[in-house]
Amino acid sequence: MTTAAIVRPISFAGAPLSAWAFGIRIWIAVVVALAASFWLQLDAPSTAAVTVAILAAPTRGPALDKAFYRFVATVIGVAAAIAITGLFTQASDLLLVAIAGWVGLCVYAAGLLDGNRAYAAVLSGYTVALVAVEQIDAPQNVFEAGVERGAAIVVGIAATALVNDLLAVSDSSPPLTLRLAALHRRVRDYAGLFLGHKAADAATAAGLLRDITALHPEMESLAPETAGGSARSAAARSAAVALVAQVYAARALNALSAAEERKEADPGEPSLLSSRAAWASREFRRRDAEVQEAIAALNASTRPRQPWRTPLYRSQRIAAAAGMRAAACFVLPSAFFVLAGWPTTDVSLSLVAVLIGLGATTPDPKGFTVFTFIAAPIVVALAGTLEFVILDGADKFELLALALAPFMIGATVLMTKSNQLLSSLGRVNLILVLDIFAPSNPPSYNAQTFLFISLFVCLASALLLTAQILLPTESIERRQRWIMASARRDFEHLLSRRDRRLAPEESMFRDAARIGQIMAGGTSPRDSAVQAEALSYFDRAAAIRLGRANLARLAATSLSHLAVEADKALAAQDTQRLLDLGNTLRDMGGAESAFAEEISGELALAAVVVDAASHSDATTTEPLS
């Protein structure tokens, strides 16, 4: 008998040592950023420290990727701020409306993207608020404020990159490889359910597709990490696309097994399918080998043999609704502040834009605002303790560095917790403590400024929450209806015309991303029905696309007349005709018999998948027979 010892990571005070190391690294980077900003006499040294907090990531790739997008978005945002201020400098009300429109446009763009690109889109939006709104009474300073902000961000990025490199922070490719390998095992297990004649839930397939496509931002962030980063990123993308294709191959196997059992129940049906089962299994194994090859390429930092793109699906309608709501949510607090006529409310208004932007990158913007509303007093108390209890007038940089340590390290360790609430609290704390405390040289220790900023942080979240209650987000059901409507539309387009821009596997990934979006909003009683319908479209679209790709090869041979007929049968989803054409091709002799046999297998499989998907009902369990 052998025993396996489980190696537990060494932990201290309830957190693994790696989390503490991460915290210490962030603290060092914040101190380096502040030291450099003070030395360069930047006007906004706290922006450099906040940049480090925003870029805090346990591995190098995501931090560098986010840094790149943060810099680009700041340049776009400052340019937009100068343009908007220049256009509406004489009418501050119109200026606010223009900023609201810009914020809405950026939130719309973020709705069409994911990961750090979505963050860049919203950052372009709220940079305008941070630069233009805070200088609303002195528009001549917008350019200088923008340059100062840009300089501080570059210092923050440089500090993060330097500390990450010197402290030999691990790359993101090993954990990503592990996650891809785990997904590969899950896909095999999923196929094993069918081979073992067990029923598989539609949610299992949908969950697999969601988890595969959710890796998209991480795959993109591998590129800037090392010299071989772009090759690794391409390999990871290929692995993900091959995994989606393997899920489809498993579902095709299932459809074939179900058709086989139907045939046994009805001996009158033609005996075509049994000979195709071996071909379908071969197809599944081919996809399996593709995944293994891509994961091996990722490990070896080499380009994959079959590079695939990973096009993303995002609903235009949901993004547009979010954009319009974001613009309205900015207008309502603006109107409130204009009517109130309070001084220095520009800080609060720019914070509203920041919260709108950051909330737009989360699945639940209102939930994010509620969380900030609750977290804001905690952060204010911590920032106050740091400024007026611990430092309390100290003006030495060493003391500032030491005083920051517990706040930075503690918040970062909290960020690494698996509990989503604690993790979010850690991230918000890390950023907002630096934002409210705003270290400067020489330090101000102005209690009035602190009180004003603290009040405005709380007021901003309260006002935004009020606006979001007045302008509620569309329900999950409505979002799912919109996504399903786009799925139907895309499927009708697929039947009527050929998409030459994407390979069938790439289109499959896009469809899988759509299923991921359906599942992103949460769960509702009609989820299983929606998932089954979405999977039905996924299966049929994949079968038709793969069938057409093979027919394009057949069209170049002497059997082109059969290719034209099969193409028409695919467009009409005429499964009987497809099976007949498959039979004809299988029985072909001559030099092209092997090729015709392969195409016949593909057509028969397409017919079976389309047939099974068309007849799939909206039950949660997919019966095997």
Binding site: V147, N164, D165, L166, A168, V169, T226, A227, A231, S301
Partner: protein, 67 residues
């Protein structure tokens, strides 16, 4: 003899010479990256990130000394 640094002026905005050198060094490193990958640069070092940083600092230093 003192080494003089030429300032870059973009639309009446002065850019410090160090910024020009830093950006140029970054651009050179990015251009070299595919060659580094072909040379299997990452396999030569236990910590490729530190090696790349050192290469960047070397390029930056050379630019500052030469131009």
């Amino acid at each position: 003899m003192m080494h003089s640094f030429s300032e870059l002026v973009i639309g009446d905005v002065f850019v410090a010479p160090f910024i020009s050198y830093a950006v140029t060094a970054l651009a050179i490193l990015l251009v070299f990256r595919p060659i580094l990958r072909l040379c299997r640069f990452a396999k030569l070092f236990s910590h490729p990130a530190i090696a790349e940083l050192s290469l960047y600092v070397t390029i930056l230093g050379l630019l500052t000394v030469i131009f």
